[in-house]
């Protein structure tokens, strides 16, 4: 890894809509992408609800910001970790989540998955590797 690049992980632990944490964190993530750091995202606890598929906000009048997660690949953010135990506790599987992908510039723009299902213990290891962890 080159000089000056740090490993940043944004940990998303809160449900979207009820509070503003998820939206604010997403904005910070998109801004941070401008600084060419090694950025990853983790979704655990109620944070897994941020990336559920088929969010429809017409009835509640909230701004539906879930589509913006699909742009993360364009921002070269392609390491997105989802904690297995958090899904299970909430009756969810990866099938309930959006399919977040990126296009690999070095492989003729092939579309590849950005999402990795990890156990709580594996997430602990990933957190341990980071230079900076920002939790919200």
């Amino acid at each position: 890894m080159s000089e000056g690049i740090k490993k940043f992980m944004f940990m998303n632990t809160k449900a979207p809509y009820g509070t503003v944490y998820a939206l604010e964190s997403l904005e910070v993530v998109l801004i941070s992408a401008a600084f060419d750091q090694d950025v990853s995202l983790a979704f655990c606890d109620d944070g897994v609800f941020q990336i559920t598929d088929n969010q429809k906000t017409d009835g509640s009048g909230m701004k539906n910001f879930s589509a913006a997660y699909k742009a993360l690949g364009d921002y070269d953010i392609n390491k997105i970790y989802v904690e297995k135990e958090s899904l299970e506790e909430r009756g969810l599987t990866m099938d309930n989540l959006m399919k977040l992908t990126y296009e690999d510039e070095d492989d003729d723009w092939a579309e590849k998955t950005s999402m990795y299902l990890v156990t709580r213990a594996e997430l602990a290891d990933l957190i341990d590797e980071q230079d900076v962890t920002i939790s919200s």
Binding site: I31, A33, A34, A71, Y75
Partner: protein
């Protein structure tokens, strides 16, 4: 609140000239803003504006310049997907100025 007058309609804009109600946009809004900024609108400008509107429609965010550049390179070719070309079209910045013309909010992370 400031307004911009387009074809007899007074549309609200913020202190930096961005549309307040994004769904009030129609192509003449871009043309009117271009006149104010002294930009002569040609097909190349519209290509970028249309691209930005499609991007916003799909992702609900205005893309960062870096993202815009890469995406334009992929869609319209490398000779257009570079910041020199984009800055020639939009001298105040492809992020800030083109997004304004396109009726999008200011890109996240743009100061």
């Amino acid at each position: 609140m400031a307004t911009i007058s387009v074809e007899g309609k007074d549309l609200e804009v913020d202190e930096e000239g961005y549309l307040v109600n994004l769904d009030e946009w129609f192509p003449a809004v871009a043309s009117a803003m271009a006149v104010i900024d002294e930009v002569e609108m040609e097909d190349d400008h519209w290509d970028i504006i249309n691209f930005l509107r499609e991007y916003y429609e799909e992702y609900q965010i205005a893309p960062a310049v870096r993202v815009l550049t890469k995406a334009v390179a992929k869609k319209l070719g490398k000779e257009k997907g570079n910041s020199k070309y984009l800055y020639q079209l939009f001298p105040y910045g492809p992020g800030k100025q083109a997004c304004k013309f396109a009726g999008l909010p200011k890109p996240t992370g743009c100061v």
